[in-house]
């Protein structure tokens, strides 16, 4: 792979005309069997790091045995992809595959439209016509062979028009992730309001398990913060027994502190207090009194950022 990457280290230039010296041979590009292991690692990263990736498969509308055309196509694609994308040739020699890392189908579609426009425009490609399929991968219920088979099946359809782009939708369903939510607020009435609000909050692909505590000490005693789940904490800065800033310090000094999303509520509407809180590691500093809908929107936005 490293060897291949070195060989393929062509510059990222947006040109239509490819000089003959740059034409690659089919064996210069990665092959189907070489890509499988990488695919398996990326597939597992989809869940662990919430990194969507998208597979694109391309096929010539008029299959040819002429290796020059295939090589010209390979070189063209290699020049058009980004350094984070991976181009490979399928074992049958009739298809190309591209994995777009950290990209959704929107980016893949834009890429295809761009290259199709170039191919249609440039004279040297007027003998080439393509069709393509896109598979966005947002879960790990897919294996390499099935992915290839499904895409090949979609592209084999003779009724597909030239320059058609079809989509395989089977793997775009995101898994539901459990999120621990802790509310730490002394006022029982407001605590209940927060609890009801967060229990009713609907965040796509995340399930919130809400627990409320009246002080910092009971939260620390609960041990819920030691689980591996992502953990949203909505707490007051001033609390009985252990105050909010102490809890913030404890959580941010834990080895897996990145799993905590900490919203701190405070009555202090001062820049210094907010600065201290942000420097201490809060993700949001909310001044009381605040609008509940604003809190909901902030939480939703926070979770929306986790997936593309």
């Amino acid at each position: 792979m490293i060897e291949n990457s070195k060989r393929l280290n062509t510059s990222y230039i947006n040109i239509g005309v490819i000089p003959m010296s740059k034409i690659l041979n089919t064996e210069d590009v990665m092959q189907e069997h070489e890509v499988k292991r990488y695919f398996e690692i990326w597939r597992e990263s989809v869940l662990r790091s919430r990194l969507t990736f998208t597979a694109v498969f391309l096929k010539l509308v008029h299959p040819t045995q002429e290796s020059a055309i295939r090589n010209q196509m390979t070189t063209f694609l290699q020049l058009k992809i980004r350094k984070t994308d991976l181009l490979f040739q399928l074992a049958d020699g009739k298809h190309w595959g591209i994995f777009f890392l950290q990209s959704s189908d929107v980016e893949a579609k834009a890429f295809l439209k761009r290259i199709f426009a170039i191919l249609k425009e440039e004279k040297e490609f007027n003998h080439i016509a393509l069709k393509a399929s896109i598979t966005e991968i947002r879960n790990n219920n897919v294996n390499f062979e099935t992915l290839i088979t499904k895409n090949k099946q979609r592209l084999v359809d003779n009724e597909l028009s030239t320059w058609a782009i079809v989509q395989v939708e089977d793997y775009r369903e995101q898994p539901n992730e459990q999120v621990q939510v802790s509310i730490i607020e002394q006022n029982p009435i407001f605590r209940k309001v927060l609890e009801s609000t967060l229990n009713q909050l609907d965040i796509p692909h995340f399930t919130l398990a809400v627990t409320a505590y009246e002080d910092g000490y009971s939260f620390l005693q609960s041990d819920t913060y030691k689980t591996g789940h992502m953990h949203l904490i909505v707490m007051n800065d001033i609390l009985p027994r252990k105050n909010g800033l102490e809890i913030l310090h404890i959580l941010r000094n834990m080895p897996n502190e990145k799993k905590f999303i900490i919203f701190m509520m405070s009555e202090r509407n001062s820049e210094i207090a907010a600065l201290n809180a942000y420097e201490g590691g809060v993700d949001e500093y909310i001044v009381k009194p605040f609008n509940l809908r604003l809190l909901e929107a902030k939480i939703k936005r926070t979770f929306a950022r986790f997936w593309l």
Binding site: N187, I189, F190, K192, V193, S196, M265, E267, K288, P289, F290, N291, L292
Partner: protein, 348 residues
């Protein structure tokens, strides 16, 4: 020697025991009453908190069971309302609470204002302001005519500022009581901008601590419309007003031109020079560097230090400080520049 007969002593003891007995009974009764009040309050909280929540936030229909019957239930409602008002900002909830209070709580507070106990009257005044019971404004004005304490009058001013700003301004002019700057600030911060800005129209006629409180409140409110008002005060004859106006302008943090501030670079007051060094933080260094370099060589340590900090905060600030260190022959200025440079580099 005083001779006391046993029967006399026994009578005294019996009377004392009787007084003690009645006193104990009174304490037991009061304790019982308090405990019953607390139980009734907690029962209301337990039974109706959720109904209140649904009514206020989910537009559930109003239930008559929510109307308070007796002091304990009023206390429970106060707890519920203050929890919402203190923590949540929701115009609709505020409106509903105001309407409910005007309708069902008014009579309780009206009665409380007649109480002989100062704490009960004060509590009622606080609630009238918090729950926006504007229908009690006339009652409050009547209450003002009775013999009230300075604290009660202060609370009344707060109520007037919320319900009738014109009356508030009049009362402030005529008042006999004198409050501290911080107390005035607490009043002014509640005022709407269009009322508050009226203080600037007749600025010089207000007592000095009201003028100071107005400047400080304008800084806290951070509203752009106060910039010109504060700039106007920079020409005041009173040094303290000039320094506070500069501080206020720094707090607002919007510097549209530097000409108004340049004369203060050479002011006789080090506090004014310090504030200018701070204000220049909000202006591009290309316009302010010449003045900041001058302030860096100031005779006052605080001014030198602030000028160095302001320069260091700019992207090219450290380079400029380095150039200054190499070219200057003022050892005190160089020392400050070196210290700030070292601290900034450490933080990086």
């Amino acid at each position: 020697m005083i001779v006391l007969s046993i029967s006399f002593l026994l009578t005294i003891i019996a009377i004392l025991l009787l007084i003690l007995f009645f006193f104990t009974m009174y304490l037991v009764y009061q304790r019982q009453r308090e405990s019953q009040l607390k139980t009734r309050r907690d029962i209301y909280l337990h039974n109706y908190s959720q109904i209140w929540y649904d009514y206020l936030f989910h537009d559930e229909p109003f239930s008559i069971v929510l109307v308070p019957r007796g002091k304990a239930q009023v206390e429970a409602i106060e707890i519920i309302f203050s929890s919402y008002l203190k923590n949540l900002m929701n115009e609709n909830v505020k409106k509903v609470i105001k309407e409910f209070s005007n309708l069902y709580l008014k009579k309780f507070y009206e009665q409380d204002l007649l109480s002989k106990r100062w704490s009960i009257r004060m509590n009622a005044l606080y609630r009238i302001a918090d729950l926006q019971i504007d229908e009690l404004l006339d009652t409050c004005q009547q209450f003002e005519k009775t013999r009230i304490s300075e604290e009660e009058f202060f609370q009344l001013l707060k109520i007037y500022s919320l319900f009738q700003p014109d009356l508030f301004m009049d009362k402030l002019k005529d008042q006999n009581a004198h409050y501290s700057e911080s107390e005035y600030r607490r009043l002014f911060v509640l005022l709407e901008d269009d009322v508050f800005i009226r203080f600037f129209d007749d600025f010089d006629n207000w007592p000095l601590n009201i003028r100071f409180a107005v400047i400080d409140t304008a800084a806290v409110k951070r509203n752009m419309q106060y910039i010109d008002k504060l700039k106007h005060l920079l020409s005041s004859d009173i040094s303290e007003i000039k320094v506070r106006a500069l501080k206020g302008l720094y707090e607002i943090g919007v510097i549209d031109e530097i000409d108004s501030y340049v004369p203060f670079v050479t002011s006789d007051m080090w506090e004014a020079r310090l504030m200018v060094a701070k204000i220049f933080k909000h202006a591009p260094i290309t316009y302010t560097y010449a003045y900041l370099e001058q302030l860096l060589q100031d005779e006052n340590w605080w001014v030198r230090s602030q000028a160095a900090k302001t320069i260091a905060e700019d992207r090219q600030g450290l380079e400029k400080l380095q150039d200054f260190i190499e070219s200057s022959n003022d050892p005190y200025a160089i020392e400050r520049a070196q210290e700030i440079t070292a601290r900034k580099q450490e933080n990086k």
